[in-house]
Symmetry: C2
Subunit: 256 residues, 2 copies
């Protein structure tokens, strides 16, 4: 099977021009087929503030009322996505910007109210059209996917970029050997959170249970790794957690 690399890059890289250009340089040099999934939450918060719209977060997820949906549609689907596409085109990568609505690539449903929390226009992914995505990839195109989906009834929905990345990777797993790379502020999963040189090179499922129980892995890294193993269970070959600067180098943490 041919290889595809699905790279997820977050808002912290997207809003820092120097970091972004290094990431794009590394992305451009990746061999073979590739997909870029981006966030942009920090820029959305900045834009919302400029527009006098309050940003409310619950467990790291944005409460998305109608006004906020307009902001994220503008910022993720327009500002960030088109900047990335134009910069990749300038580097010889034939990129195409997509939200879930484009070509009906990612269908979702509005998250139901749970425990009294109404996230508003937030989408939980139902299905990624891996076949359509493969057709694009096979024609030499690099999809650049914004963290937006649609409900099939005319509404865009705000959707977590990590989830978009893992669902996209899974949808391609029957057709390709998929490597899913999460670019992160840290160089990988650290044995000592205060020591950037303590990257754990490989984590298998059995290691994960041990690392959790002995407290090496904690906090936000646990759901990240759980998502990684869920992707592996769905046929993704490997998940790499690394820094944007190190994308394409054999460093970081490989989960398999």
């Amino acid at each position: 099977m041919e290889k595809v690399t699905v790279v997820k890059v977050g808002g912290a890289v997207v809003e820092d021009k120097a970091k972004l250009l290094r990431l794009l340089y590394n992305f451009t040099r990746l061999e073979g087929r590739k997909v870029l999934v981006h966030g942009g939450g920090r820029l959305a918060t900045t834009m919302a503030t400029r527009l006098g719209i309050e940003s409310r977060m619950v467990e790291g997820r944005r409460i998305t009322d109608r006004e906020t949906l307009e902001v994220v549609t503008m910022v993720y689907g327009g500002l960030v996505n088109k900047q990335l596409v134009a910069l990749l085109q300038a580097r010889g990568v034939n990129a195409i910007g997509l939200t879930g609505a484009d070509l009906n690539i990612i269908r979702s449903h509005r998250r139901p109210i749970r425990d009294g929390i109404d996230y508003g226009f937030v989408g939980d992914v139902d299905c990624v059209d891996g076949e359509r995505l493969s057709q694009l990839i096979e024609s030499g195109v690099a999809p650049v996917v914004a963290p937006l989906t649609h409900d099939g009834e005319g509404s865009m929905l705000n959707t977590n970029a990590d989830t978009i990345a893992s669902e996209t990777a899974k949808s391609l797993a029957s057709r390709y050997r998929v490597s899913l790379v999460y670019c992160f502020e840290k160089p990988g999963v650290l044995a000592d959170p205060d020591d950037d040189s303590s990257v754990i090179a490989e984590i298998r499922r059995a290691d994960f249970d041990r690392l959790k129980s002995d407290g090496t892995v904690s906090g936000g890294m646990i759901p990240k790794l759980e998502n990684a193993f869920a992707a592996i269970d769905s046929g993704v070959s490997q998940v790499v957690i690394t820094s944007a600067d190190a994308l394409g180098t054999p460093t970081g943490t490989t989960v398999f």
Copy 2:
């Protein structure tokens, strides 16, 4: 040759939900292959004002400094484009939103300073990739094109939507019988500007010269018709000037 209809709809329709839904209803019912090109200038002006950015226009064109480029990239490429795509998907049209940067569909260059006027990040179109566009159209997809292009060096450029529509129509003319439809506030070119029932049904080039010299056609309608004849000269079969409400009906003015 198979037929393609390229429909251009302006900001006045895009920002009026009732008008927009009628337009999309009519667009959905058009038979055969189709492309939608949209504006959004009024929404960009509103958004710029909310962000404290002054909108400066010269001869109806927006002076586009770096901040304004961000606004139009957000509003045209994100807010308006994705709303249209999601609404079309809900109506069973497999739409894909594109700017000129996506798939390198429309390359342009920054407009040079002329007569002391620097339009800033405004693009004059060099080339539309009609082959790539045809491949999408042949796969049953309806491209929805925002009035944004790119310079191939990493920058988006703000580009007139009428021009995008005519250049897109021309790029398809060797492969299809192309009908280019400009949706407009009026029901067509009027013999009496105060009488909406005075639509001139057909205008040939010889008629145009007469209508200009006797003063029937004046003001902003002259460049519109000149652009229409330029499209005809480049192989477009017909140009229709009509209202968004009447799209798909045999009314309006046909230029050929």
